[in-house]
Symmetry: C2
Subunit: 308 residues, 2 copies
């Protein structure tokens, strides 16, 4: 049986440069993060885009992990080839198989230190629970959005995104790096405690479940006509109510939220999502009972590298 391996990824988007800088420093000074003897592979997701400080070269790498793309040998787009390369190197059946992938991102939105999980995989929810118990991180559960798929971590049996902001693209910010560091340290410690049989899981998990995304108001030919309202800017994770200002036009007119479901917005005004027609995503805050299936899944993965 192979040994348990962790994959840490930075620079999946080439203009999110803080985690790549952290990885570089960590390679130079291995003592800055204690790896507790874990097998850890660190990799830059999109080195070509990182060099140009661009999100991507041809297409978004973090939407490229779709079977129909990766298995299509006639596609020669850089990011599809890179996705294929990462899976054939670090994937479960790759040269250096890894069992958990942690993908480190940053955002221009005021997300703070947060975690994104994709769908409801047991092992993902176990790790998310451990990180939330330790650090109180909010967790965004991205699911049921057919327009956004092919996320990197989905190609591993367990995987999460660490999402930290606000920080401009292409800007080194030590407070963003320290938050990334804290989350990675905490993740490594929790895996280590699982290996020692000393881990404690919480009784509840608070998640922010994806409901839907909202685009900017646009003209018929796609021009944006109103911008995120100043009072909403930076208000990620804070519930909206009926009448909350959403967008503002230059003539002063305001578009307001209509509905009584008190959604919680995330990724408000993320610069990279304009092209995806997302001005923000709305979520519902839910408190879930911790499930022993989650615990069993992560323990199986760590000890036996087995998974559903």
């Amino acid at each position: 049986m192979s040994e348990f391996h962790v994959l840490l990824i930075a620079g999946t988007h080439g203009n999110e440069i803080n985690a790549p800088w952290l990885f570089e420093q960590w390679s130079k000074y291995p003592g800055i993060i204690n790896s507790h003897g874990l097998n850890i592979s660190k990799v830059i997701g999109n080195p070509k885009a990182l060099k140009c400080c661009k999100r991507y070269i041809s297409s978004d790498l973090n939407r490229s992990f779709q079977n129909e793309l990766i298995s299509n040998n006639s596609i020669d787009e850089y990011e599809i080839l890179r996705a294929k390369e990462l899976v054939s190197t670090y994937g479960l059946y790759g040269i250096s198989p890894c069992h958990i992938a942690i993908d480190c991102h940053s955002t221009t939105s005021a997300m703070g230190n947060s975690i994104v999980v994709y769908g409801r995989r047991n092992a993902d929810l176990a790790i998310a629970s451990l990180l939330q118990l330790r650090l109180g991180l909010p967790i965004y559960l991205h699911e049921g959005d057919k327009t956004q798929k092919g996320f990197l971590v989905e190609s591993w049996p367990c995987g999460l995104v660490v999402e930290i902001g606000p920080v401009p693209q292409g800007l080194l910010d030590i407070s963003i790096i320290q938050k990334t560091m804290l989350t990675l340290e905490c993740f490594i410690e929790e895996i280590y405690k699982i290996k020692l049989g000393k881990v404690h899981f919480p009784k509840k998990l608070i998640i922010h479940r994806h409901l839907r995304s909202i685009d900017f108001p646009r003209t018929e030919d796609g021009q944006i006509t109103a911008l995120v309202h100043p009072s909403l800017q930076g208000s990620d994770w804070l519930p909206m109510s009926n009448g909350t200002p959403l967008f503002k036009k230059l003539d002063g007119s305001i578009l307001r939220y209509e509905g009584n479901d008190l959604p919680i917005p995330v990724f408000i005004n993320e610069a990279a999502y304009v092209e995806k027609n997302i001005a923000m995503s709305l979520t519902k805050r839910e408190i879930w009972d911790f499930s022993n299936d989650w615990k069993d899944a992560i323990i199986d993965l760590v000890f036996n590298q087995s998974f559903p």
Copy 2:
């Protein structure tokens, strides 16, 4: 004699997208800014870079207005050709000559609503005085820096940069746009008042005179080894003293300012300046007596299109 013309420029850097959006809205809804009957030309500085949301294609357009570059016919770099095109169209001896250029920028630094003037041209200082009297804007006097030259506004007899932040590159932020709007409105009104003979100049001008720039600490091969200290991030325009933390390493060690000259930092951690080896610039706050030469220069320019 030709008539007095104003040139307003947005998108000189293609990833500073707020002023271009304002220009687009202003073209669609001319009522949002009162032009008071002034002759105003609006132009996108670097349309090709704006389309890609990049600072520039080949080289920084706002360093390309150097006579030896523009007059060299063997250079075919996009930005040099564009600089040449802008001067031959809107320059003093161009097809549609303009006499004042206002170049609208944004920055990732917390500069607020500010003005940059290059050197000590009388008409520039007159306009800066009027804007400061009206809006209280801080003014950064960039001079004596041989490594940074070829700024767009220097190719017009009078010209200033409007510099507003913090905002990530590539992000639309209505509060940034409203600050840009306010400054342009105020500029137009002051020119209008000059034309009416009803302008009032202040008695003093407060400027922040450029002293020098500081680079990030780097290894011999140019790798950045320490980042702007969290307590300094966002502290543009606030005096530093001996011992003020400048940079922080991931091991927690801090590099501090040494000196008793109480410099005032600007452009702290501007994302685009990393490649220029500038982590911040230091200035000295000075209070200058308003000079009648400044007033005479702007009045001459507005009424007679004459200048030194």
